[in-house]
Amino acid sequence: MINAMLYTYNDITKDVVESPDVCIIGSGAGGAVMADVLSGAGLDVVVLEEGGYYTKDRYSAYKPAVAMKILYRDYGATVAFGKNPIILPLGKAVGGTTVINSGTCFRTPDSVLRDWAQRFGVQNASTREMEPFFEQVEKTINVTRVSPEVLGKNGLVFKRGADALGMSNGMLMHNMINCHGCGRCAFGCPHDAKQAVHLNFIPSALEQGARVYANARAEVITLEAGRVTKIQGSILNEQTGNRLFNLRVTPKLLVLAAGAIYSPYILQKNSIRLNAELGKNLTIHPAVRVTALFDEIIQGYKGVPQGSYVDAYASEGIMLEGIFVPPEIGLPVLAPIGKENKEAARRYDHLAAFGVMVSDKNSYGSVKVGIDKRPFITYHFDPHDFKKLVKGIALAAEIFFAAGARTVNTGIFGFREFTSPDDVAQLFTKKVPVTSVEMMAFHPLGTARMGEVRDHTVVNSYGKVHGLDNLFISDGSIFPTSLGVNPQVTIMSFALRNAQYIADHKGAFFA
């Protein structure tokens, strides 16, 4: 325990009853920042987090597969259904998805902020106005550029290829201190080098008096006369998931920070529909992994898995970023059954891998309460966006060949491994059905859009739900469109700004 006020199921011996100024549901990128700022403003804050509390000592002992069972929701296999199901992993721990993310940091692009102002009426969020919030977040989570010593050969060979083709590229910015380049970011950093929010904003909030309950799931939200009056839930046994105790919180203000899937879900489950836009407009930033075989030894699992990028086509919404996973995660998708997969396993040291992500401009998804009462996520991949994804795959393949790859595996069903750059043209001459590509996505956003255009948004420019006085949303849900870049800095910076707004208007909210 880092602080007497971080409680896990082990510490709790009876039902929990709390009446704080603020209750925050979710302790990830959005929730942790809110907890820090609001407790720093002298408010009494309680955070409820469904996931457990894990430290480096615990997760450094986990193999990747075990980490996925423990630190992710649904063993890392949450699915967005559509023509082709897309895996959409979500974190579940004190620190939320930041505990298992890759640590890449981007500010919100200026063009995106301008678009939000123009189309959704988002106020006071220009690049200039956001600057101090970006700066403060970057300082707190220690954003620095990945250094060549920890980049690893996976990033280096891709850079070599991009340089050969004259494509703009570089090392990514990351939130890390003393990175060892051990390649485990997505399974919990065993060195506490990656500055996930349970290492900064959460401890700071605890020091300021906030109380954080891990293994605490919020289930029922009660609204009376246009105000949230009560949150009920359960303290869960971390091993079995069984309910141990009841939880009852009666706050003056509720901040929902359960993420872009679970925030709309929990509201819908409680029949709090807010408006027709809630749960819609989901963007996920679809991604694929392209793999290449080299004669030289790469050992892509050594080094920061997501250390470098190619942004030559970023204006078209195509970003290429490093992504390398250990054999037990990579091989099942990469290698066919039979002796071939053992051969692929033996060649694992010679593989390099890079990710392709595309902004979802016309694609859209939704979150609803499914018939099994769990979130039911759908996603329609627009053909234009899908074309961009195929173009991104082609670019990655060209870059790998320019770097000296012997073969490139696009992972597209029905396409054999490419053995020369000439093969890449097939991606444009042959039909590539959306059902033939194995996709993943890591950046769900947009299910409770912010802005002042009420018909198209759920919360106002500061995250306050339209029409309700004491309910804010502070997580990936509030962003009206895809960012085209990784979202954690955007989520944290808006949380900081919106928390500051609440603190500045204490008189109104906590009279």
């Binding site: 597969a65 690893g152 051990c182």
Partner: protein, 136 residues
């Protein structure tokens, strides 16, 4: 294989999954490990302990489908086939033009291969040595 170590599968399910696992990752080839030293099915079984009842039901249904579907097309069960027949039958799932069939099989393949390649003996056999680039 002691039944008591299993948390989810019964002995029969275990035998079917074992046959599937030995087809997905056959003995011999690029490297070999002592089959007594590595039991991916036991790891798989222990790994999925914790899924919801509905999810476990779905996994059992997939395994049963693989075992019994050939009764219709090949008049035999999966576990009664020769190793070559098993391979070509499972390749039919893996390379099916029907996306859902492919995905169902991919799920099973992932769980089996993840269990297998997580094992330290296998990691050693493929010379997978994850290390830091910078040590303290």
């Amino acid at each position: 294989m002691a039944v008591k170590e299993l948390k989810v599968f019964d002995q029969k399910m275990y035998s079917i999954v074992r046959a599937i696992a030995e087809t997905i990752i056959p003995p011999g080839g690029a490297f070999d490990v002592d089959p007594q030293a590595v039991d991916p099915v036991l790891l798989f079984d222990n790994y999925i302990d914790g899924l919801s009842r509905l999810q476990l039901k779905a996994i059992r249904a997939i395994i049963s489908a693989i075992e019994y579907a050939p009764l219709v097309t090949r008049l035999t069960r999966f576990t009664k086939m020769s190793p070559d027949q098993r391979l070509s039958y499972l390749q039919g799932w893996e390379k099916s033009r029907i996306l859902s069939k492919r995905n169902i099989f991919l799920l099973l393949k992932m769980l089996i291969m993840m269990s297998y390649y997580s094992d330290d003996t296998v990691a050693e056999a493929i010379q997978y040595h994850p290390e830091c680039l910078i040590n303290d």
